[in-house]
Amino acid sequence: MDYMLRTPTESAMEDILIAAGLAQEATDHEGEVMVVPTEGISIDHIGAIPPTVDIDGNILKPGDPRWHTNIRAMIELTPEQVTALPTFTPEPTIPYRVFA
């Protein structure tokens, strides 16, 4: 199951994913703390959506400066986890990015 998520900032997204049990903090071999997905979850951070421009640089479709993330769950999420996700409506007819 895939979910398209949106929050005001990257840190807000990470906080939500951690609180929902879909991500966790981990320390890499150089001591840097990173937020990584938990088992059965793939996370693809997109960030802000840039505007669509034409050949002359004119904006055809405005962008969205908010933080966007796609997740793919290979496990069954609980109703509480699903409720906690910052999904949005309407979803775009043509998503900016999808999973293969």
């Binding site: 938990t38 088992e39 693809d44 050949i55 990015r97 999973f99």
Partner: protein
């Protein structure tokens, strides 16, 4: 060659025939011996990739992701069938039991293949998971099974199990659809040309017929939303006469052509070549033109063919991620085996790995792991490249022993072999028969849970997905001996 497919080991299948693993010695003293060039995954290995991924088959064509059509088909569970757009009787190598995704944008359904008939190109899955809703007539079909890769040029030469990290193709319409590729002029594009087969063996490349000689012609698109100062790699297949020069043009920040920091490939007019270039963007550049073709025309009517454009972050080109109207992310390959299944000897043992470093992987400032464990960052082989040197290392959290040299081992463009033995405190290793090096290690006293293949764990212990340092290429074979071999034996073991 395609008619001979049945003679080869079928990729992506699992079965008892491939179970060469045993706790007993296998005759050479090893208690683990896996040969990935057979195209069979040992059933005691755990493999996962949450989505489709492409690979090169035994005939040199690209498989793993296909376009398909259907009558109006609703997202849902149960039996679902679509028709792949490849020519009838061209085997696209889907097999019963493989996990496959049918996707339309963010809507998809996935499940195991229950039937595939290459004569009709109808593929049927028993969908057990879904995302989104609605009914659609066009699809991407993505194979989420293990990928056994083969050489695209030396046809039929196996490269083993392909293990790559996650990557995104930031370019839409990767085969050059005119709906997206509208920049440039003095050429006439034709999508889905029937002039020739594309690198995936179908008619989905774009033909570009150039205009008047001595004039400039180009075929490009705009990419926005990049990170200023970031490193990106462009890759694409091209076929045509001389004259094309790879190009990426910054539209903001420091406006103008960006000079590639690395490039691979020399194309010609007789076959497909994948060209790659790596660029570091100017500090404030976030918009660029990327070019499928950029040429000062030599002869009026010069014709180029292009296919599979990819723009991804980092300094190496990964396997092709086909795109349509959206950018597409390929998820990471995960492969491991329980340490309890390999006869692991905590007092000392020897690992051997033979692996491939592809020509398309520029491998600059990257780190890859061939064999690793899921505990305390213990690694049996890591490869670091950067600053003009390649380093092979054996190590743990805070100690390592390395061999360093500028291309000494030549593993960026060729297969290599590696062997090491380790105890709880010391290690010794060699690469390709070179003189072994040894040193003191630490944190090797912990018995890990799993032997990771082609990646490293993010932190202890491995939890299934928190991985890093992907090999981003393929592993041909691995072995484990529950005894410590001498330096001379390691050299012999790894001599090409």
């Amino acid at each position: 060659m395609r008619s001979l497919l049945g003679r080869f080991h079928r990729p992506m299948s699992r079965g008892a025939m491939g179970d060469m693993l045993t706790m007993n010695s296998l005759g050479d003293g090893s208690t683990l011996s896996l040969d990935f060039t057979t195209g069979v995954l040992d059933s005691r290995l755990t493999f996962s990739r949450a989505g489709g991924g492409t690979y090169v088959g035994t005939d040199g064509y690209i498989y793993g992701v296909d376009n398909a059509t259907s009558a109006s088909l609703a997202i849902g569970t149960g039996s679902k069938s679509v028709t792949i757009t490849a020519t009838a009787s061209v085997d696209r190598r889907f097999q019963v039991g493989q996990n496959v995704y049918f996707s339309n944008g963010a809507n998809n359904m996935s499940g195991l293949v229950t039937a595939y008939d290459s004569s009709t190109q109808v593929i049927t899955i028993n969908a057990t998971a879904t995302t989104g809703s609605g009914s659609f007539t066009s699809w991407f079909v993505g194979n989420a099974s293990p990928r056994f890769d083969y050489s695209p040029t030396n046809i039929g030469e196996p490269r083993g199990l392909l293990i790559e990290g996650s990557a995104s193709n930031l370019v839409t319409q990767s085969n050059g659809a005119t709906s997206v590729w509208g920049i440039g002029g003095n050429r006439t594009p034709t999508n889905n040309t029937t002039d020739l087969l594309s690198p995936d063996g179908t008619n989905n490349a774009t033909k570009l017929v150039c205009g008047t000689a001595t004039n400039y012609a180009s075929y490009a698109t705009t990419i926005t939303g990049l990170t200023g100062g970031g490193t990106y790699t462009v890759s694409y297949w091209i076929r045509g006469p001389v004259g094309h020069t790879p190009r990426l043009y910054a539209l903001n920040g420091t406006i103008g052509d960006v000079t590639p920091t690395a490039t691979t490939g020399t194309y010609n007019n007789t076959g497909w070549t994948r060209l790659t270039q790596t660029y570091t963007l100017p500090a404030t550049t976030t918009q660029v033109y990327v070019y499928f073709m950029s040429v000062s025309i030599v002869v009026t009517g010069d014709t180029f063919y292009v296919y599979g454009f990819q723009l991804e972050t980092g300094s190496g080109a990964s396997s092709l991620i086909p795109t349509g109207a959206s950018q597409v992310t390929r998820n990471a390959d995960i492969c491991y085996i329980p340490i309890s299944a390999i006869g692991f000897n905590t007092s000392g043992g020897t690992f051997f790995a033979s692996f491939y470093r592809g020509e398309a992987n520029l491998d600059l400032n990257q780190e890859g792991s061939v064999l690793n464990t899921d505990y305390a960052d213990t690694r049996w082989l890591s490869i670091k490249s950067g600053y003009g040197q390649t380093t092979f290392g054996l190590g743990a959290w805070n100690a390592s022993i390395n061999k360093t040299g500028a291309g000494v081992f030549g593993l960026n463009t060729a297969a290599g072999s590696y062997a090491s033995w380790v105890t709880s405190t010391t290690g010794i290793f060699t690469v390709n028969g070179a003189t072994a090096v040894s040193g003191t290690l630490s944190n090797l006293g912990i018995t890990p849970n799993n032997l990771m293949i082609g990646s490293a764990s993010q932190s202890s212990p491995y939890n299934g997905v928190s991985l890093r340092d992907f090999l981003n290429n393929s592993i041909k074979s691995i072995k484990y001996f529950p005894t410590a071999k001498s330096a001379a034996e390691l050299q012999t073991l790894t001599t090409p």
